[in-house]
């Protein structure tokens, strides 16, 4: 005897989710406020700074603006700016995390 095929039912199929692929959007703070990583915080001495721009170009995180403003939201405290400054206008101080900011 020849049997007809039984109909299949749509059991528990997830909704059509459309195209999802690993596309990322350019974002400042892509991994969060990386300032929370640091142990040492850079402190600038305005009087000594002559805007030579070395710290600006050497900051690996692009946290120092061309006007030599340091963005503490993202600065990871690597200390390169302090080491490279020819005028010793930046020092790295142990950061006081309790109250926020440098001692």
């Amino acid at each position: 005897m020849v049997k007809r095929a039984r109909k299949d039912e749509d059991k528990g199929r997830p909704e059509d989710i459309g195209i999802i692929t690993t596309l990322s959007v350019p974002t400042v703070g892509s991994v969060g406020k990386t300032g929370s990583w640091r142990v040492f915080v850079p402190v600038k001495d305005e009087a000594r700074c002559n805007k030579c721009l070395l710290c600006w170009i050497y900051c690996p995180e692009a946290c120092i603006s061309k006007d030599i403003e340091i963005d503490l939201d993202y600065c990871k405290g690597c200390g390169i700016c302090a080491v490279e400054c020819p005028r010793k206008a930046i020092v790295m101080l142990k950061e006081d995390k309790s109250g926020g900011g440098a001692p």
Partner: protein, 318 residues
């Protein structure tokens, strides 16, 4: 080119997943400033794949195609061919620069075939190898770029072999432009990037990228180590164009005698990966071996430079 002439715009977006003091993010920043927005970026498996941060947020402000480890040269070829096609069809007014960004792993080892193939074909892109002399992304295993005696996680008592030199292999491919760079000389790197962008064909630039966790030095010394690499002659800065190699920046000053050649021990002792070179009975001998190798190379370069000067002198007098 002066630092103040560098564009202020940041195409590398702060708040990335890079280690503190990362040479890779530093190099990307300067490269992006040199090339600007009209750039398509290909990133091969390396630290850069990770430091750009995970899905769905990116620290890179350019169109970026991340691709598998061995593919750098080939993806550059494909992107470049498609760009050529669109330009030919009038669908792209201005030809963007195609930039392939790979580590030493993806360049020296698993990716050397694809790079060589593209170089032989002359596919039109800039290939930057940022060389941290190991597979840093996976925990510092050795690569073909790892220098003699360096500790890595699988050369525990120090690598037994001297490294190979892919920049010179690229010179042997007769490329229109090959150059080396160091983070401590940003204007040198910037102008080399811009020069590469102005030339058609395959351009290769290798940037030494001292890696704080991999080379074992504090995060504040990345530029210092990059500078010493040049000042000691460990890393030569040059550009090779139209069949001729010219030494630049710090290397030029050493060859011309304007700067002192710093003893290599000053460079090696800053890095924990060479710590064992200074320990034990053979300590002095091994550092001397290193010094000798460098001295030979630099002597040849000084000699060649003087010879060329002398010959040109004779030419003028004749």
């Amino acid at each position: 080119m002066r630092l103040k002439d560098f564009p202020a715009e940041e195409l590398f977006l702060k708040g990335s997943a890079a280690c503190a003091g990362c040479p890779g993010s530093m190099a990307l920043r300067v490269a992006f400033k040199a090339l600007g927005r009209n750039t398509l970026l290909v990133v091969i498996a390396s630290c850069t794949s990770v430091l750009q941060s995970p899905f769905p947020y990116s620290a890179l402000g350019l169109p970026v195609l991340n691709m598998a480890f061995a593919t750098g040269g080939a993806v550059g070829a494909g992107v470049s061919a498609a760009v050529n096609y669109l330009v030919k069809k009038g669908e792209l007014r201005e030809r963007p620069t195609v930039l392939v960004w790979a580590g030493d792993g993806g360049t020296y080892d698993i990716g050397i075939q694809a790079l060589s193939g593209a170089a032989e074909r002359g596919d039109d892109f800039i290939y930057v190898c940022y060389n941290n002399e190991a597979y840093s992304n996976t925990g510092t295993q050795r690569s073909g770029a790892t220098p003699y005696a360096a500790w890595t996680s699988n050369t525990i008592s120090g690598k037994k072999e001297w490294r190979k030199d892919v920049a010179q292999i690229m010179v042997a491919h007769d490329l229109p432009y090959v150059a080396t760079a160091s983070l401590a000389y940003p204007t040198d790197f910037f102008s080399k990037m811009q020069k590469a962008a102005s030339i058609r064909g395959t351009k290769y630039i290798e940037m030494l990228a001292p890696c704080p966790p991999g080379w074992k030095f504090p995060s504040d010394s990345t530029v210092r180590v990059s500078r010493l690499a040049v000042q000691t002659g460990v890393w030569l800065l040059y550009e090779h164009e139209n069949g001729r190699t010219t030494y630049t920046a710090g290397t030029k000053r050493i060859i011309d005698g304007q700067s002192e050649q710093v003893p290599v021990a000053e460079y090696l002792k800053l890095q924990g990966r060479f710590r064992h070179l200074f320990q034990g009975e053979e300590a002095d001998g091994r550092v001397a071996e290193y010094q000798q190798r460098i001295d030979e190379v630099l002597e040849n370069l000084r000699f060649a430079s003087k010879l060329r000067e002398r010959l040109m002198d004779l030419e003028i007098r004749r």
